[in-house]
């Protein structure tokens, strides 16, 4: 509320094009599609504004002009006019054809993946994204080089999700049981929000990540190399923190004591838990491993079992151990 006025000013100020904040209507134009999509948006916008203004102006004028407050009597006037009706059917139709055609052309661009595009596999799972690169590297944020066509091969492990990067003006549903794809060429370095736009349950709005664009291929390659073995040179607890962050644990289990969909990891090590069936148990290594592999086995009182077995992800034995180490490190 307090930030309202500055926020509003910021939006208005940034109405000039091509700033990282975006314009009045749009986020920044960060991909090859943005300029054309925004142009088409503005075209429809101005056509609509003119049409709308005409209709409203006519309505207001006629209402004011022909208003009768008492004893209204009808006046002779035409019931129809074929000429007029043809005119106001044909002229909008012409604009509609133009809109369809421009939209169709842009759509063809959206779907025509250039040969040799850099392919990244995207997998959605409640409520986390995983990106797999041709080198075998994996990440939870999308990393792409600028100025190169990138193709996303999208799939889902459970329910419908949708890849949406507003700054790139791209969107495609992730459908379980099949692949879908989209492509883009980033044109601006920086970090841009990456949303899930197909409703997918409890933490739908938490299924957010970033699309990080590197200005040069060299920077991107460097990141790729580091991503290949993310646990190298880290202590088990540090590596566990990375697992927690990357494998989607953090969507439901915080590390600060606040409880989301699942209990927080903070301070549970060694604690006694009360379960839904009335029994109790102590949080130890076996308990954690069991909870990862068979979440349904013991449900902490007050929670629902929404977790997929093995966290919905392929956690290696090593990663599970890291996670145990991380939870141990979060003991009080």
């Amino acid at each position: 509320m307090i930030h309202l006025v500055p926020n509003l000013l910021a939006v208005l100020q940034s109405s000039s094009e091509q700033t990282p904040e975006g314009s009045l209507f749009f986020p920044p134009k960060a991909s090859n599609f943005a300029a054309e999509a925004d142009w088409l948006y503005n075209f429809i916008f101005w056509v609509s504004v003119v049409a709308f203004a005409l209709v409203i102006a006519a309505t207001v004028y006629l209402v004011v002009r022909y208003r009768k407050s008492v004893a209204p009597e009808p006046q002779p006037s035409p019931h129809h006019s074929t000429k007029l009706e043809v005119i106001w059917s044909v002229i909008p139709s012409i604009f509609l054809v133009v809109m369809f055609w421009k939209g169709f052309e842009l759509f063809v661009d959206y779907r025509k993946v250039p040969a040799g595009a850099y392919q990244i596999q995207v997998e959605g799972v409640k409520w986390n994204w995983t990106f797999r690169y041709p080198t075998g590297a994996e990440s939870n944020e999308l990393h792409v080089p600028m100025g190169e066509p990138v193709e996303l091969l999208i799939s889902s492990k459970d329910v419908l999700h949708s890849v949406f990067i507003p700054a790139f003006r791209v969107k495609q549903d992730a459908v379980p049981g099949r692949y879908t794809r989209l492509w883009f060429e980033a044109t601006m370095p920086g970090e841009f929000p990456f949303y899930c736009t197909e409703y997918c349950g409890t933490s739908h709005s938490g299924m957010i990540t970033k699309a990080k664009v590197y200005e040069t291929r060299a920077e991107f390659d460097e990141w790729l190399k580091s991503a290949l073995n993310p646990y190298e040179g880290k202590s088990p607890a540090e590596a566990g923190a990375l697992v927690w962050e990357r494998k989607g644990c953090k969507t439901c289990h915080t590390n600060d004591g606040s409880n989301l969909v699942g209990p927080s990891f903070k301070g549970i090590w060694g604690a006694t838990r009360e379960f839904e069936d009335g029994s109790t148990g102590t949080v130890d290594e076996n308990y954690i491993l069991e909870s990862i592999q068979m979440p349904a086995a013991k449900i902490v009182k007050g929670y629902q079992n929404v977790m997929v077995a093995n966290g919905g992800q392929e956690l290696s034995d090593e990663e599970r151990d890291f996670l145990v180490a991380y939870i141990t490190s979060l003991a009080n």
């Binding site: 009808p74 059917s89 369809f100 959206y110 736009t197």
Partner: protein, 574 residues
Amino acid sequence: MTTTTPDVHYLNHEKGFKSWFWTLDHKRLGVMYMWSVIAAFILGGIFALLVRMELMEPNGYVLENAALYGFSDKLSAADLYNHFFTLHGAIMVFLVIIPGIPAALGNFALPMMLGAKDVAYPKLNRFSYHLWLTGAIFFVMALVTKGLDTGWTFYAPYSTSHSDSAVIWATMGAFILGFSSIFTGLNMLVTIHKMRPDGMTWFKMPLFIWAIYATAVIQILATPVIGIALLMLTVERTLGVGIFDPALGGDPVLFEHIFWFYSHPAVYVMILPAMGVVSELIANFSRKPIFGYRSIAFSSVAIAIFSFIVWGHHMFVSGQSDIVNVVFSALTFSVAVPSAIKVFNWVATLYKGSISLDTPMWYALSVIWLFGIGGLTGLWLGTLGTDIHLHDTYFVVAHFHFVMVGSAIFSFIGGIFYWWPKMFGVMYSEGISKLGCAIAFIGFNMTFLPQFVAGSHGMPRRYFDYDPQFEVYNYWSSIGAMVLGVGLSIALYALVRSLMGERKPAPANPWGAVTLDWQCTSPPPPHNFDHAPPVDGPYDHELVRWNDELNGYEPVDPVDGDPNLARMGSAKTV
């Protein structure tokens, strides 16, 4: 023209709960539908306000507190939010907007507009209403058992295999409501076909009847498909037939096809009757025949037919194939033309009219504005290139609220104000009613205009928490929602107040309208007419004139000296 209420009318000729619950009278059923729909609207509205309050700030705390204070010990605040927006959508769609105009106002006014004693199947009509009640009970059961968190669209496989909520209560509720809607449509269709009075040919029907006819066609042909879609979903969830769930070899996109084959035409079940109401209001409050009668009538039917071949525009990014996307986009634009024609005709009707700005006309004029925005913003969503960015964002949310609420609900309320004197034989306070309309109009625009901008900036729909960059839009939107709530409450107050205390009796024809529904007493006698009065044209306003002494309208040529019954059309033909 008498302004005294008749001694015996449909409201008082029988008394007691049973006489209402088991009534066969279309007027009583219409009135009961109306109050039931209003009740459901209030429930859905409360959910809407809770959703908007939660969204006022990026990490809202309203529902967190609700969860904290034991409103629910099981669900997290995010779940609670998901339940609320789902129930808001499902209730508003299935319990409010779809039955709103066709079942409530259609039931009340349509047989009278035809000069008929009742609809073709009074028992089926009552059965429809009882089905509506049963469907409503199913929704309430969903609400009180495990809630519903699938979104009103019930997309598979979330609804079939993942959601832990009361999906089956809700799908079965919607299934039953579907049949309620089918039977209403069937009844209206047969009534219009078989029970028109002498002289009322197809092109002499009031446009409201044309609109209800087009709606009935959709209800009969499309609604069974949602029935089967929901039944398939229910069976998939219980027995696992493997049609939709990919884990069993099914195809979730197939569900979207079957779902939208109904649910797109359903949008026209909502908007076509609304357009019919607006056509009536504009013509009668301009005291003029509507401009371009035939093109409005034909455009209703054209919209009904086209509505069946455009459903794929809900699925442009769903994984639907490119070729089908292109075809659906092209066909979608074909619906835009008849919709635009209607708006132009309404505006042209005002020309050289004698416009009286009574409350119903305020609503009709609001609808021109709101439907203008709602219709035009559809263009971005029908255009392939721009829909990709805007799909499933707040842009879509704002767009369909402009159409479904701004146009359909505002028309519904306008229709209620229009027929209210006929329904209950009382006049409401014009001042309070207009105040309500104005506040609701302002509140509505405040709520949904900012959402367009939030959407084009990329705010996804159905989000519990959101990126702080969207705060400004959501803040104003939430304030607007409260203003809208206040406006609608004032409108309801104006109506309820007219029934309380000192009632101001309504004349038989307070608006000087010339459709047959205004040619009997207010409220109408139990069987409307002994015989259908002969009619000529629907908007022959010269048959009724203003009388200063009465301070009201009177028929130029009353039948048998009855000051309530104008000799419609027969003035010329007999």
